[in-house]
Amino acid sequence: MARNILQYVFYRLLQSILSVFGAVVIVFILSRVLPGNPAAAILGPKATPENIARVTREWGLDKSYLEQFIVYFSRLIRGDLGDSYIMGYNVSRLIAERLPASLELVVFAFALSLVIGVTLGALAARKHDTKLDLALTSLSVMGFSFPTLLLGVILLILFGVNLGLPVGGRLDARFTVKTYTGLMLIDTLLNGNINAFIDAFMRIIPPALTLAIPLSGLLVKLTRNSVLEVMNQDYVRTAKMKKLPEKVIMYKHVMRNALIPIVTIAGLYFAVLVTGDVVVETIFAWPGLGRLVWEAVTLRDYMVIQGSVLLVSIIYITVNLIVDTLYVYIDPRIRG
């Protein structure tokens, strides 16, 4: 049995490596079909003949496509995504600066949606076929259909205009916080600055909710169905016949087993959150990776777009790999 797991994990690992390589190839091809001279496209409007010559030399743009790819790939392996001539930095550095903000937002939103989704979903299952269940199920379909665009704007108005709370960005400019982890909520606490922490906390809520509500909608539905399925199992019926208190049955027998598929499916959606992030970060001026992509699109900075797409793909593929591996350990039925 153990060998089977190892084989499966090994196979998935190979597959993931192939996918990453495929993503690199696709991004490479895209960057070479840019209209006009690729060097000029990389440099943007600030292109000078000297710079074009330099970029052509740096990336081997006058050589064959195979040689160009080797240059591209060998730089990539060293973690070098090239220089952005438009933003004036190395792309890897730009991304590294922005990544913690996105990570913080996405993890926060993910936790939020797990709490909301699983609680309401379990509630709907316990009260199944009542008015409450119907209300929760309808709400979940609505939440799921809510476009991030609309939700973001509504929460921006609700929090920023109606409630008069601080919205936009990660922290008010009047606070100066020394960076330890890059995660604002933790950094403000490490600085011992409670007011800054409160400010940062209030600013993360609206964008996190925007990401969390659609995912919660999905989780409510999944949790409800999963819990209902487990509640019909024989061992739950036995527990009920033994007259165990309902709370004990719910927590010890039902939830524990019902959560397995939920956690893994939610894990897959963690990666989807990273994508929805572009719109949310744009609306809330959140200085993360998504906002960087938007800025790059606005400035036509193809190097940055390309680097971000590649990085997000690698994160996405890695998370999928981890989730699949976990799944095999948790649920032996998958090991085919």
């Binding site: 192939l18 895209l30 259909s145 995912l215 994508t275």
Partner: protein, 291 residues
């Protein structure tokens, strides 16, 4: 034939969700047609005398039912022009990528072997890159326009259908009636068209309906970040993107088009969800990518 079609239609409409979805769909379609033919305003008609602040949606400001935007353009007219544009783009996306995916899936599943291996590895790679990110990369290369946005979403969504169809073909391929057709000496194309395709159709159409709302969200999101429709084209994502800049002064040019977009997406989700339950009562979970 016609009898059985109309009976199926009646049965499908019995599903509550489908009925609600169709009601929203038809009323929005009617509103759009009314706007196109009878609206007193053009979608790009700027009126400088109500330039700023924008008129709010109230009976005082009749006939500006949904108020005006920062350029004095009628929000109602623009929103329902956008309904035609966005659902049109959505339809174009799902039909194009559905068709390409259908062909790839049929070939891959039916022929098998090396063709299948190569085609499916390519699909695996495309699907392993987050869809919206890949669409951004492609649209950025092609240049900002609504047509290019449609093309990029088509490329990104082809694997969904290719994989779905391939899987179904594989399960149909070994069934008795296909084997019998093969024994009878029918050509491969004929077997695919006459015997395999009809088996695949219902689930395929359901998937198309579900993906329609995703396609609309993709187009709006691409336009929102500046990679789709350009001013003065009435498009939901672009309208929200422009209006969010002065959202503190006027909420309606951002929120109202967004609400119509939400209801549109909801209507297609309801129809698709209901269709799926109607076709396959066992499979009630829905797992889709949203952005």
């Amino acid at each position: 034939m016609i009898d059985s079609t109309s009976r199926t239609l009646r049965e499908v409409l019995m599903v509550k969700r489908v009925r609600y979805g169709v009601i929203i769909l038809l009323s929005f379609l009617a509103l759009s047609l009314i706007v196109v033919f009878f609206s007193p305003f053009q979608y790009d008609q700027i009126s400088y005398n109500v330039h700023y602040p924008p008129l709010s949606p109230s009976s005082v400001n009749w006939p500006y039912i949904m108020g005006t935007d920062n350029l004095g353009r009628d929000v109602f007219t623009r929103t329902f022009y956008a309904y035609i544009l966005d659902t049109g783009c959505g339809l174009a996306i799902v039909s194009l990528s559905g068709l390409i995916g259908l062909i790839i899936g049929l070939i891959s599943g039916y022929l098998g072997g090396l063709v299948d291996l190569v085609l499916m590895r390519i699909m695996d790679i495309v699907i392993s890159i987050p869809g919206f990110m890949l669409a951004i990369a492609i649209a950025a290369v092609l240049g900002s326009s609504i047509v290019n946005a449609v093309i990029s979403v088509v490329i990104v969504t082809v694997p969904i259908y290719a994989r779905l169809v391939r899987g179904m073909v594989l399960s149909v391929k070994e069934s008795l009636f296909v084997l019998a057709a093969k024994e009878a000496g029918l050509s491969t194309v004929r077997i695919i068209v006459k015997h395999v395709l009809p088996q695949v159709t219902p689930i395929f159409i359901t998937q198309l309906t579900m993906e329609l709302s995703n396609a609309i969200i993709y187009i709006a999101a691409l336009s929102f970040i500046g990679l789709g429709a350009q001013e003065p084209v009435p498009e939901w994502g672009l309208m929200i993107s422009t209006a969010r800049r002065y959202v503190r002064e006027a909420w309606w040019p951002a929120v109202l088009p967004g609400l119509v977009m939400f209801l549109t997406v909801l209507s297609f989700n309801l129809i698709g969800d209901g269709l799926r339950d109607y076709l396959d009562p066992r499979k009630k979970l829905s797992v889709r990518e949203t952005s």
